[in-house]
């Protein structure tokens, strides 16, 4: 497929969006048409993506191919086209987005079948794919930014999909606002880049940055710091991660697609795209790795004490994104991206699996007229006999995320940890990051085992009435799960390291993309024995976490949510997510709103400016006018007197 047809990948979902959008208003109940338009457009897009990928592969496209669609912002020397950039990185991202996207669309057909907003849902989902593809295909930062903000918009709309509930609408708003803080960083980075480099195209940046920027200098550090601020927003890193757990208010397939597989990884993609800048800014890179490691550990620890199945997965996502940032912060961009890809597989699988559990639970509760929480794991238990396929597939994903060989997560996570350790040689901070990563790996395995046990093993706690209605959803939902299961299990093949007999296929594929940064990063060779030792450590952490988590959870006395006792001690702090949300609310949100209301608006605007100055001057003039009006007695005689006095005075002037 010719590369210049890449716009078709965007055009199909756009068409799907338009059709579904129209249907949402005109025929909201035409579910079949909506399904065809929604899923069909994605599959078509995937086919085109596959064609593009194969073309890139067979034609050995190394230099990015720019496909210009139209001139967008031609302003004097500043000139931005709506243009797509096709290169190995874009090709990989295309496949991930459209591939995982297609599967999740398909899953949604089953999951959302009975929702009143079916057409609206697919319209949003298609629009999301449009923006996500613009994000990964954009050939310049502003075009990327269209996608960047566009996916934020779709995320906002989909989190607040069931908007009649205030909490959902608030969660959507929160996500958008947090993202906007990050977008502020991206904007500033763009301005600084334009001011120093005179270009915002990725090709131009790669060309000009080595020429005009001082490695490790202020300018490049500033630019990368601001770019990374954008990443913390979009990819839910400390300090802007709190929106992602709340984003679980949206439908579960949305969580899988947007808040696990694609959108939240945009930050990693952005760093990879502008890798040359980050390679030139070692200070920022260290910060990124540090933030990533901290986030990984911090979020994993919160995940240990969550009861909502989706919340556990959400914190898991935050934590895994932290890993990716450790990777790109360490300079191994390929490993970061590799983890992005495998994470897309297994986390999508986990979310969809959770979706199928929630679907089953929801149906059971609905049928038995219970009002219990269908997402609370304390109400589940022993579901393996009711949902066997889901059980197996979710275990595959669990093993993958825990880093157990030979599942995909093992390869990607191990690479990141190894690289961090290696980097420790010249920057000791990285040893700390490595240790934190290892601890996080242990915690990850622990909470995943806890999740699996609480959901699928042990006694069933959903109540007798509901139990009868529990059953596995249909093939349209399990089908995508199976495909993702295969990918999660085997995704590691993409980039098997040399130490394990592979040849770094993904690394080889992406080498041209990261060529500009290669010169700034010294690659240190690792002795074989150390490498095997590191692998062993990582595997050990994962397996230990799994085993301990399994045993601990199975042995604890679990009660349904209604009867459960509140947590105490540190567990309570964890269950309340370290009270970060509350702290943000008290320290930032309320003071800003309160300050705006009572000081800026009431006191300054209404009191000082409008009251004292504007109305005050009006009152002053009115007072002077009142004084003048006291002369107006209404007695003609007085007027004549004044008149006469004036006349005398004029006469005096004229005659005297």
């Amino acid at each position: 497929m010719p590369v210049h047809l890449v716009w078709l990948t965007v055009a199909f979902p756009l068409l799907g969006f338009l059709v579904n959008g129209a249907l949402a208003f005109a025929r909201p109940n035409a579910r079949r048409a909506v399904s065809v338009a929604g899923v069909g457009s994605l599959v078509a897009s995937f086919v085109v993506s596959l064609g593009i990928f194969l073309t890139v592969r067979s034609a050995h496209i190394v230099e990015p191919e720019i496909v210009k669609l139209w001139a967008w912002l031609p302003v004097d020397r500043f000139h931005i086209d709506i243009a797509f950039q096709v290169d190995p990185l874009a090709a990989v991202m295309l496949l991930v987005v459209t591939g995982v996207g297609s599967l999740i669309h398909l899953f949604s057909v089953g999951y959302m079948q009975e929702d009143a907003g079916y057409a609206r849902y697919f319209a949003y989902l298609n629009l999301f794919i449009v923006f996500m593809l613009v994000l990964v295909l954009g050939s310049s930062l502003p075009v990327l930014f269209i996608g960047w903000e566009g996916v934020g918009l779709c995320s906002y709309l989909l989190i607040g999909f069931w908007f009649s509930d205030t909490a959902n609408a608030s969660a959507g708003k929160k996500a958008f606002l947090m993202n906007r803080i990050g977008d502020f960083g991206v904007l500033i980075a763009m301005f600084q880049l334009w001011t120093t480099l005179g270009t915002l195209e990725f090709v131009g940046i790669a060309r000009e940055a080595p020429r005009l920027l001082q490695p490790g200098g202020t300018a490049v550090t500033l630019i990368t710091l601001f770019l990374f601020l954008g990443c913390t927003g979009k990819s839910a890193q400390i300090p802007l991660y709190t929106w992602l757990p709340d984003a679980m208010a949206g439908p579960t397939p949305v969580s899988a697609l947007i808040h696990a597989a694609t959108m939240v990884t945009a930050g990693v993609y952005l760093v990879a795209r502008t890798n040359v800048l980050f390679a030139m800014a070692p200070a920022t890179s260290t910060l990124i790795a540090g933030v990533g490691a901290l986030t990984a550990l911090f979020a994993a620890s919160i995940g240990l004490r969550q009861y909502d199945i989706k919340k556990v997965l959400a914190y898991s996502t935050v934590s895994q994104l932290g890993y990716m940032f450790v990777g790109v912060g360490t300079g191994v961009f390929v490993s970061g991206l590799f983890h992005l890809v495998t994470h897309a597989f297994f986390k999508a699988l986990l979310f969809l699996g959770a979706g199928s559990v929630i679907h089953a639970m929801h149906h059971a509760y609905h049928a038995s007229h219970s009002h219990d929480d269908a997402q609370d794991m304390r109400n589940m238990g022993g579901l393996r006999s009711y949902l066997p396929k889901t059980w197996v597939l979710m275990w595959i994903a669990t093993l993958a995320i825990a880093g157990v060989p030979p599942f995909s997560g093992f390869f990607s996570k191990d690479e990141i940890l190894t690289a961090a350790f290696v980097r420790g040689a010249d920057n000791p901070w990285y040893y700390l990051f490595y240790a934190m990563g290892l601890a996080a790996a242990f915690a990850t395995a622990f909470y995943m085992a806890r999740l699996m046990v609480m959901t699928f093993h042990g006694e069933n706690r959903s109540g007798a009435a509901a139990r009868e209605h529990l059953h596995e959803p249909g093939a349209i939902m399990t089908g995508p799960l199976i495909v993702l299961g295969v990918l999660s299990a085997l995704g590691g093949i993409l980039n098997v390291p040399a130490a394990l007999g592979g040849h770094h296929a993904l690394a080889g594929w992406l080498r041209p993309v990261f060529a500009p940064s290669a010169g700034y990063l010294q690659v240190e060779e690792l002795r074989g024995s150390t490498e095997y030792l590191l692998i062993a450590a990582a595997v050990l952490a994962g397996v230990a976490g799994l085993v301990l988590g399994y045993r601990a959870t199975l042995n604890s006395r679990l009660l349904p949510a209604r009867e459960a006792l509140p947590d105490t001690g540190f567990a309570r702090v964890l269950a309340n997510k370290y009270y970060v949300d509350e702290a943000y609310d008290r320290v930032i949100v309320r003071p800003v709103v309160g300050f705006s209301r009572s000081v800026l608006w009431r006191f300054f605007d209404q009191g000082l400016v409008d009251g004292l100055l504007v109305n005050g001057s009006a009152r002053l003039f009115r007072g002077v006018g009142w004084l003048g009006s006291q002369l107006q007695t209404g007695q003609v005689g007085f007027y004549v007197l004044f008149f006469a006095v004036g006349a005398v005075w004029i006469l005096h002037v004229l005659l005297g």
């Binding site: 005689g637 007197l641 006469a644 006349a647 005398v648 006469l651 005659l655």
Partner: protein
């Protein structure tokens, strides 16, 4: 002789004007005003404006003052109570009017010669040259009579204003009728 007559008329005019503003009764005031107007008509004759003098008697002393008396009688306010203003107002009036008289007193000594000197800024040997228009008008009056002397400029040079006054009078009539009507 002319001067003597002038001063007699002037005295009558001033005295009756003073009485006009001091009389309590509106009717007496009106009658004293009529006296003032008659004496002014006499002065007009002395100044060579016989036509104006005639019109003064006809219009002012006749029509206008009769209108005043009609209204006074119509409203039945001929025997009104004292209507002078308060003492502070009287004091202010005395001061202001006194100043006015002082300012205007200088007019007493004006002659055509002095006027011409003030207008041109230098004393003139022959002030009559400056006031050629006045002499021309006197010749005109001599040629055409007192009425013709006024009529010629009125119907030639001042035709448009003249017509405008007719419109004014018409609208005054309409206005007076509308205002004086009992119910609108």
């Amino acid at each position: 002789m002319t001067e003597v007559v002038f001063y007699v008329f002037a005295t009558i005019a001033v005295v009756s004007a003073a009485l006009c503003i001091l009389q309590r009764s509106a009717v007496s005031a009106a009658l004293w005003l009529v006296t003032t107007m008659f004496s002014l008509a006499g002065i007009y004759v002395l100044l060579g404006a016989q036509f104006i003098a005639a019109v003064q008697v006809l219009v002012y002393a006749g029509a206008v003052m009769v209108l005043f008396l009609f209204v006074i009688m119509l409203l039945n306010i001929g025997h009104s109570t004292p209507d002078l203003r308060g003492s502070s107002m009287v004091g202010a009036t005395v001061v202001v009017v006194g100043l006015l008289v002082v300012e205007l007193a200088t007019l007493w000594r004006y002659t055509p010669r002095r006027l011409a000197a003030e207008i041109t800024g230098t004393p003139l040997a022959n002030p009559a040259a400056l006031f050629a228009a006045g002499q021309a008008a006197q010749q005109e009056t001599a040629a055409r009579g007192v009425v013709g002397g006024v009529a010629a400029p009125l119907f030639q040079q001042y035709l448009v204003p003249f017509e405008a006054t007719s419109v004014l009078l018409l609208s005054a009539i309409v206005g007076a009728v509308v205002l004086a009507k009992r119910k609108v």
